[in-house]
Amino acid sequence: MSAPETAMTLPTGDRWRRINMAAGLGVAASLALLLTVEGAALLPARIVLLAGLIVLAAGLLRGRARKFFSGPSAYVATASLLVLAVLAIFATEISPQNPYDLRQLDIMDGRQPPGSTNFDGSMTYHLGTDEQGRDILSGILYGLRVSLSVSIFATLAAMAIGVVVGIYAAWAGGRTDAILMRIVDFQLSFPSILVALMLMAAFGRGLDKIVIALIIVQWAYYARTVRGTALSEARKDYIDAARGLGLPARRIVFGHLLPNCIPPLIVISTVQVANTIVLESSLSFLGVGVPITQPSLGLLISNGYGYMLSGQYWMSMYPGVALLAIVASINMVGDRLRDTLNPRLTR
């Protein structure tokens, strides 16, 4: 099939679509790199990550920015999300202490209240310290990074798997469709926290393990959504037109059907990142999540929880505030996105 023929049939937003896809892949790849490499300090990968996220956001809001920023809550949520994302990505540079470098810790500084200084006055613990003498603020920044990267990566991967399965089911139809959707129904009939809990019980702790568990928990949700979209899209004229042109099935599916099934997923996936963060932190709180060496916000809260009843609230209180801030701002941005991108809901 020659290029000029298809160029006519492609919608005008195609260039942006390619840019967005590239940005999405960039985000996924850099996250994968940052998650697998111990310490996660690769600066170029982190810059790619931030740039990719910004391009994705810009692509999403292109031509709709005015509608998106129609109230104060949109500004507040976007600003706080941006700040938290930058803090998480550049945690190593920003945080006053590397909380997992034992040379920088002093056990004598354990459980200091917020605002106290270390013994020679060279450092102020603005949010206090935990029982090991770790600066809570630094711990939060590192924890934020773990929480965010695990959740975003798991969401992207689950989305990719769900899209493939959903489109395949819709395209194949018949028995394949029925079997795949029964599996999806089966999995969705159990609450995600329960499934994730069992998986983590079987796998044991670990960053890679919790990512896998979070992917397994979520893919079915996307598969079902995409299948619905793909079924209704497949009946539209442009697919008939592509068939009429004699394009191979592979090309129709990946070049025409797939790009049109993704937009409805964007809003879902935004909110889903927030849900994943909550799920991950709950698992870590229960002690079956991330390893102790790379605590997420949930594990930080869990660590400080034992001291809360004795009034040493800061160890779990401030990580909790950070968790709330990130989840609430993602949810608020997602809420605005839904209103902006879904024309049916506008009044």
Partner: protein
């Protein structure tokens, strides 16, 4: 209706069978329970003897067939830790979880419905917007964090309510329940509220959407033309029409509430099934984990079934369609 019920029943049996396979092999992957059961300085002979006693030395498929055979007779093994039959153990922990989930459900309706109806009524005003923003926070707040905050405020600072345990219980219909004693109810208040908050924001959103849709309908115009008060229109006429989706969703959510109780129970040290599950996972108590999962599946199947039946009873349109099919 009968065909529908039979089909659902067949589906449920299939789901049970599939779950049995998944659960058995999933749990089989979890560590070696013998490490927990015997002391580290046991001799190889002792280890072999223990393995043989629990049947761990046999091939996986033999263990599986034995498991299925016993499960069909309602026997899912004995807890390694407690020494009791696992099913009985879980059932003895079950009332605590069920009463917590029930109270949580009641709270979520009591909080969510009025807020949602009001938010739908004032959808474009600041009140409506404020409630919706608030509901985002309800969604965002992780369960354990809400629980912690409540403990910090009401148990540590104000010292009004207890933070852990069940308090006094009474025997009702053979179950030990806290909900009917003043002390037990005090202990339940914080966990139930924690459990309810997420569902309450869900209910708020559903009620708001339903109210917004209902307010433009003819029957509301007619009721207004009759000169009924707005309160009566909202909480009698509109409410009746929006309850169906809310009940459906809540019914489905009852199951997830029992699952989420795992977190809440851990925070409040509430001795229910969820706490038992976490403890069992940490001690590799396989029979208890398996039994918990199987019982949860049964509960879920029953809930889904009940929701379908209630749904057809509440909405005659579904019944007509179901009868024709």
């Amino acid at each position: 209706m009968l065909v529908f019920l039979l089909r659902r029943l067949a589906q449920s049996v299939f789901v049970m069978a599939a779950m049995m396979v998944v659960v058995f092999f999933g749990v089989y992957m979890i560590g070696n329970p013998v490490d927990i059961l015997i002391s580290p300085d046991a001799t190889p002979a002792e280890i072999d003897e223990t393995m043989a006693r629990f049947g761990f030395d046999q091939p996986v498929y033999v263990q599986f067939l034995k498991f299925v055979g016993n499960a069909l007779q309602g026997d899912l093994g004995r807890s390694f830790v407690h020494g009791e039959p696992a099913v009985q153990l879980i059932i003895s922990y079950m009332p605590a979880t069920l009463e917590l989930a029930a109270l949580g459900l009641i709270f979520s309706v009591l909080i969510g419905v009025p807020l949602g109806v009001y938010a739908g009524y004032k959808a474009d005003r600041w009140q409506g917007r404020a409630i919706m923003t608030g509901s985002i926070f309800g969604f965002s707040l992780p369960n354990f964090w809400v629980g912690m905050l409540l403990i910090l405020i009401f148990a540590v600072e104000l010292q009004w309510l207890p933070s852990t345990g069940r308090g006094d219980t009474v025997e009702v219909l053979g179950m030990r329940l806290s909900i009917f004693t003043a002390d037990g109810l005090q202990h339940m208040l914080l966990p139930a509220l924690t459990l309810a908050l997420y569902k309450a924001s869900l209910v708020t959103r559903l009620a708001r959407a339903g109210t917004q849709e209902a307010l433009v309908q003819d029957y509301v115009k007619f009721a207004r033309a009759k000169g009924l008060s707005e309160t009566r229109i909202l909480f009698v006429h509109v409410l009746k029409n929006i309850m169906i989706p809310i009940i459906t969703v809540l019914g489905l959510e009852l199951g997830s509430m029992i699952a989420f109780a795992v977190v809440t129970e851990t925070v409040f040290a509430w001795p229910g099934m969820g706490k038992l599950l976490i403890d069992s996972i940490l001690t590799l108590d396989r029979p208890v984990i398996v039994s918990y999962l199987m019982l949860t599946v049964i509960i879920f199947i029953i809930i889904n079934f009940a929701v379908d039946v209630i749904y057809t009873l509440l909405d005659p349109r579904v019944r007509v369609k179901g009868g024709a099919a």
